[in-house]
Symmetry: C2
Subunit: 383 residues, 2 copies
């Protein structure tokens, strides 16, 4: 097991009716910016619950934060927050709204070029306090300090992170997910699943505790995911998926083990260039990455086939089964595993390889996923 | 799944050499009381590492905190901390030292009768800040806000808890466990194992995520425990046991599920009356409790037999196997599962039943472990 530090001060309020707890979490004197996305919160009753809970608070609303939240949109919120002297940000929505809100929190008090917070992960000593009402289980943003921000102008998409960006609290009421369209439920399950794989499917360091926990999250997603897909108002299915998605990226699974994250890096480029849903890009990358890297990931692939998918057979059979089961799982959620489905062609592959080459970046737990290997992975996906 | 709140702000510094990080965690101006137990920290090099890391700090030492730390001893520390104007407590040792330190932290600024902090769980608005260097994986005290305190005078032992008593940080270096005697390693594994069972072995509420996590901790203890017993300097075995013991009682497993804790309540009385090691009392209770309560715990016993012990068979066979495997696990650690081994007799059973009757307390996830049922459980154990 590798050395690690773990610290996660986010307060989770989980379950039915928890939105009513908002006043216990936000100072009565706060001037709140309520951030949200495309407006689903007006249809599912969440907006109403939030406003009722926060009656008497000063609130400025900022809507229209898009999936893959853009710097351009968010800077409008930053200007308003500055001029309105906002001192608390309340994100109401999914991971994109929350990621965008984290950027706003960092940018409002930041005195330099705010794009550098993203592009260069510029350090910042302060941030506005953040709270979240989560309505879509997927990204895990509700219990970590990371955000992924896009810039339309340059078709770029990068991750940023700073412990100052931990939400002070996150409210997770599974009932808020009942009206999600199947596509978004599927995306959320696939996103959480891939988060676990990025932290688990590397090489063994005898971190038995972490491996068993990662498998616990995968087993939960595999057992409860199809039930939530089939019946979106199955409360317990939604609750397990919501908590599993949070556990998938709250730092526990990565503590003391190597991590990969190449699938996300490649996927971000495909979203930046083609606008493909984040989770869907991941499904077009991971199975092919596993095939290309099956020798260096061999021991973990075998363990995963046995512990998660309960496969038996020779080691070679287990490796093949592990990769096939992964692809099958995405497909079972109606999420394709070939980028060709989205008309991604050789030009895009070339552009992505060119970008990574220009940035001088290698990925993966052994830093052996070079731009050239990225090309090989994507060639398989568009074949 | 039940509603829950989860918030755990403890910073964990895990791994080799982490004691050197102490100055990054304690203000340079702090006046520290360094608390410890029977003196093992002088033999295993931990004291030296701590003193080296904290060169330049003002430190008052308080040693001699016993296993099952007593109010009598701890009040001496409270007097010294008050007169020396201590403003930071650093616990160096196992769970007993840390539990005792939590009591000191609460008691120093408390203006009322300090025993009420324990006996009545009296509320307290402040506490001294605490840090921990853990040298014995067992109690989970390093990542929670609970403590168990004994009073010699009255042969009482009670739990107390308050979010103010979260350690600010806990340093977990598995190498500090290398010189532990086998009896203490075994006790630690048994304690952590029982903590998981108290939160898992109840009735199902379809908390799939929590169930899989509880099983993850049990599987880790079962896989790595014997390895640590056999070779106490096996770093990875020690690391997994240390992290598993922390995960066993940091709040994650109990979030959203019913919990039992009757085994601990009964065990505390046996320690209070007979001075039996805490973990050893648990082993003399749990298998008999499971036998007596096998009908109300039936579904979970079956699940546990299948998922943790990989048993197959009819439901009745699985229930029997679950109970037998639990007893066998304790015995494999050289920990007896009969209280008769410790010369606990009918008089003690009567006394314990009398105490619970006087306190009007029922235990268990259904509050159906009445004093009378406690008697039945203990009768089996002394038979």
């Amino acid at each position: 097991m590798n050395n690690f530090q773990y610290h996660n001060p986010v307060r989770i309020l989980f379950g039915k009716g928890q939105i009513a707890q908002l006043p216990t979490q936000i100072p009565a004197t706060a001037k709140i910016m309520l951030t949200y996305g495309g407006g689903s919160i007006f249809k599912n009753g969440v907006y109403e619950q939030v406003k009722k809970a926060l009656a008497g608070y000063q609130i400025v609303e900022f809507g229209g934060i898009e999936p893959n939240p853009t710097y351009e949109t968010l800077m409008k919120a930053v200007e308003i927050a500055r001029s309105e002297k906002i001192d608390f940000l309340l994100s109401v929505g999914g991971g994109s709204v929350l990621d965008g809100t984290k950027f706003i929190a960092a940018a409002v008090p930041y005195e330099g070029d705010t794009w550098q917070l993203v592009a260069k992960r510029a350090k910042h000593a302060t941030a506005l306090p953040i709270g979240a009402v989560l309505t879509l289980p997927a990204t895990g943003s509700e219990m970590n300090y990371y955000a992924v921000i896009s810039r339309q102008e340059t078709q770029e998409k990068y991750g940023m992170g700073n412990p100052k960006l931990y939400p002070q609290f996150s409210i997770l009421d599974p009932e808020t997910t009942f009206s999600l369209p199947p596509r978004q439920i599927a995306n959320g399950i696939a996103d959480a699943f891939t988060h676990v794989m990025e932290q688990y499917m590397t090489y063994p360091v005898r971190a038995t505790m972490q491996d068993r926990m990662a498998e616990a999250v995968l087993l939960t997603l595999i057992e409860e995911g199809p039930k939530m897909m089939q019946n979106p108002t199955d409360y317990d299915a939604a609750a397990n998926i919501m908590w599993a998605a949070t556990m998938a990226l709250n730092g526990l699974l990565a503590a003391g083990v190597p991590t990969d994250w190449a699938t996300h890096q490649i996927g971000h480029e495909m979203t930046a260039l083609h606008g493909i849903d984040h989770a869907r890009t991941l499904a077009t990358v991971l199975p092919h990455l596993l095939e290309i890297k099956k020798d260096t990931k061999r021991e973990k692939l075998i363990q995963y086939a046995q512990h998660v998918w309960k496969c038996t057979g020779t080691d070679d059979e287990l490796v093949a089964a592990a990769i096939q089961k992964t692809a099958d799982f995405y497909e079972s959620l109606q999420i394709p595993t070939k980028a060709s489905v989205y008309n991604v062609g050789p030009d895009s592959v070339q552009e992505i390889v060119k970008r990574f080459t220009a940035r001088g970046m290698n990925f993966g737990e052994r830093a052996d996923i070079t731009p050239q290997v990225v090309g090989q992975i994507l060639e398989r996906s568009i074949a």
